[in-house]
C-alpha cells in the first residue's frame, strides 16, 4: 500500500558525466519511521537524499510526499514540507538564532510574526537552546549550530526530516549532543531519513537500516538483523570495519 507512506521513492537514477551514481533506488517511509542510510563514501547516500528534495535533480524516477508527487513545478511547496539538515549546518550567518528559526515560517509559510516567534522559541527549547535566541551563528559551537539548524527545520512542521551526515563536521563530544536531539526526535515519532556513520544512532533509533553501495541498495532491514546476521558478505564487512573504528 502506498497510501500510508509519507515518503515513497521509486526508481531514482542519477548520473554525473556518464558515471551512474544512483542506479534505480526505491524505498518507502511510513509515518513516524526512521530509516538510516549507511554505506561507504561514494555509494550515493547523499546524492539520494538530495534527489528526494530536488537539491540534485534526479535523471529518472518518481518521489511522492504524502501521496503527492514531487515535481519541478511544485518544488518550493514540497521542500517547505521536507526539513533538510546539512553536514555543515548552513545557518543564515547574518541572522540571529531566533530569526534563523522563524524567517522561513514567515517568508515561506506566511505565518504571522508572533506565532512564528512562539514556535521558534518552542523548537529552540526542544533542542536545548532556548537561551541562545539572541546569539548569532558564529557565536555558537558547531554542535549548537547544528541543533539550531534542526530547530529551523522542525519549525516548518515538516512531514519528513532529511539529515545529510549531520555530525560529520563535529568532534565526538559535539556529535553526542546532536545525536541525543535526533534520538529524542525519533522517540517523539518524527519521520526521518538519516545519512550517517554513527552506528550507535543507527542501532538505537533506526527502524530500518539501508545499506548502499555503488548506487544500489545492497540490503535493508531492522538494525538488529543487519548488525547480527546481515545476508550479504559486503554488508557484514562494512559493519565490521565501522564497529572497529566507530
Amino acid at each position: 500500500m502506498t497510501d500510508d507512506l509519507i515518503l515513497d521513492v521509486q526508481g531514482v537514477t542519477k548520473s554525473y558525466d556518464g558515471l551512474e551514481v544512483l542506479k534505480g533506488i526505491g524505498f518507502g517511509l511510513r509515518k513516524g519511521e526512521t530509516k538510516v542510510l549507511i554505506g561507504p563514501s561514494g555509494s550515493g547516500k547523499s546524492t539520494l537524499l538530495r534527489c528526494i528534495n530536488y537539491l540534485t535533480r534526479p535523471d529518472a524516477g518518481r518521489i511522492f510526499l504524502s501521496g503527492e508527487e514531487v515535481r519541478e513545478g511544485n518544488i518550493d511547496a514540497m521542500r517547505a514540507r521536507m526539513g533538510f539538515v546539512f553536514q555543515d549546518f548552513n545557518l543564515f550567518s547574518h541572522l540571529t538564532v531566533l530569526d534563523n528559526v522563524r524567517i522561513c515560517q514567515i517568508k515561506v509559510s506566511g505565518i504571522d510574526r508572533e506565532t512564528a516567534t512562539q514556535r521558534a522559541q518552542q523548537e529552540l527549547a526542544r533542542v536545548g537552546l532556548g537561551d541562545k535566541a539572541a546569539a548569532y551563528p558564529a557565536e555558537l559551537s558547531g554542535g549548537q549550530q547544528q541543533r539550531v539548524s534542526i530547530a529551523r527545520a522542525l519549525a516548518m512542521d515538516p512531514d519528513v526530516l532529511l539529515f545529510d551526515e549531520p555530525t560529520s563536521a563535529l568532534d565526538p563530544e559535539l556529535t553526542n549532543e546532536v545525536i541525543r536531539v535526533m534520538q529524542q526526535l525519533a522517540r517523539d515519532g518524527m519521520t526521518m531519513v538519516v545519512v550517517t556513520h554513527e552506528m550507535s544512532f543507527a542501532r538505537q533509533a533506526a527502524d530500518e537500516l539501508i545499506f548502499m553501495e555503488n548506487g544500489h541498495i545492497v540490503e535493508q532491514g531492522p538494525p538488529g538483523n543487519l548488525f547480527s546476521h546481515a545476508a550479504s558478505e559486503r554488508t557484514r564487512a562494512f559493519l565490521n570495519v565501522i564497529a572497529e573504528h566507530g
Binding site: 550567518s93 547574518h94 546569539a135 558564529a138 516548518m156
Partner: protein
C-alpha cells in the same frame, strides 16, 4: 587686494562649485547603483543565454576600458550633435554609465563571496530563488560590498573634477576662474580646492564605515 581677500570674497563660488560636484556625484552614483545592481543580478541569476549575457559583458568591458575623459567628449560632443544636451547632463550620463560598469563588478564579487550553502539552505527550506536572494543573499552581499564601494565613492568624487573638460562649472573650474581673474596664486587656490575635496571624501567615507560597523555580524566580522 591680496589672495586671501580674494579667496574670502570668492569662497561662495567655490562652495557653489562644490555643490555642483556633489550633485554630479550623487546623480552618477545613483545611476551607477541602480544599473550596476541590475547588471550584477542579471549576470548572476538571469538566463544564461548569449543574447543577454554578451551585451552585458560588452557594456561592462567597454565602460571599464575607455578613459573617462574620452567618454565625456564622446557623450557631450557626440550627443549634442543630434540632441541639445547640457554639459552637466552629459557628464552625469557618461560618468553614471561608467560607474554602473564598475559597481556591477563590486556587487558581483560581493554576491559571489556569499557561500553557496546559504542559497542551498534557503532553497531547501522552500524559498523561491527571488526570496532567497532578497532575504538571505542580498543582506550578506551588501555587507561585503560596502568596503569596495567606498573605493568607488572616493574615485568618483575625484573624477567629478574631470567634468571640467566639457565645461561643467564645478569646483575645479570655479578655482580656475579665480586663478584667471587674479593672475596667479595657483598654489594657494588649488590647495584650498584640494582641502575641500579631501573633506568631502573623508566625510563620505566616515559615514560609509560607520554603516559598515553598524551592519557587522557579531562573532563573524567583529
Amino acid at each position: 587686494m591680496d589672495i586671501y581677500d580674494v579667496l574670502i570674497r570668492d569662497f561662495p563660488f567655490l562652495l557653489k562649485g562644490l555643490g555642483v560636484a556633489i550633485v554630479l556625484l550623487a546623480a552618477l552614483l545613483v545611476i551607477g547603483f541602480v544599473l550596476g545592481m541590475s547588471i550584477c543580478l542579471l549576470q548572476l541569476y538571469g538566463p544564461k543565454t548569449r543574447l543577454l549575457q554578451w551585451p552585458l559583458l560588452l557594456y561592462e568591458r567597454v565602460f571599464r576600458g575607455v578613459p573617462i575623459i574620452i567618454m565625456l567628449f564622446i557623450f557631450y560632443y557626440g550627443i549634442s550633435g543630434v540632441y541639445d544636451i547640457s554639459a552637466f547632463a552629459a557628464a552625469i550620463l557618461a560618468m553614471g554609465l561608467r560607474s554602473a560598469a564598475y559597481q556591477s563588478q563590486i556587487f558581483r564579487s560581493a554576491f559571489q563571496s556569499v557561500p553557496a550553502g546559504q542559497m542551498m539552505a534557503a532553497r531547501a527550506m522552500g524559498m523561491s530563488k527571488a526570496k532567497a536572494i532578497r532575504h538571505i543573499i542580498f543582506p550578506q552581499a551588501a555587507r561585503h560590498a560596502i568596503g569596495p564601494w567606498t573605493n568607488e565613492f572616493s574615485s568618483e568624487i575625484k573624477e567629478t573634477s574631470l567634468a571640467y573638460v566639457i565645461g561643467v562649472v564645478e569646483l575645479t573650474r570655479q578655482a580656475h576662474y579665480i586663478i584667471t581673474s587674479t593672475q596667479g596664486n595657483v598654489l594657494i587656490v588649488f590647495a584650498v580646492v584640494a582641502l575641500l575635496y579631501f573633506v568631502l571624501n573623508r566625510a563620505g567615507n566616515s559615514l560609509l564605515y560607520a554603516y559598515e560597523r553598524k551592519l557587522a555580524v557579531p562573532g563573524f566580522e567583529k
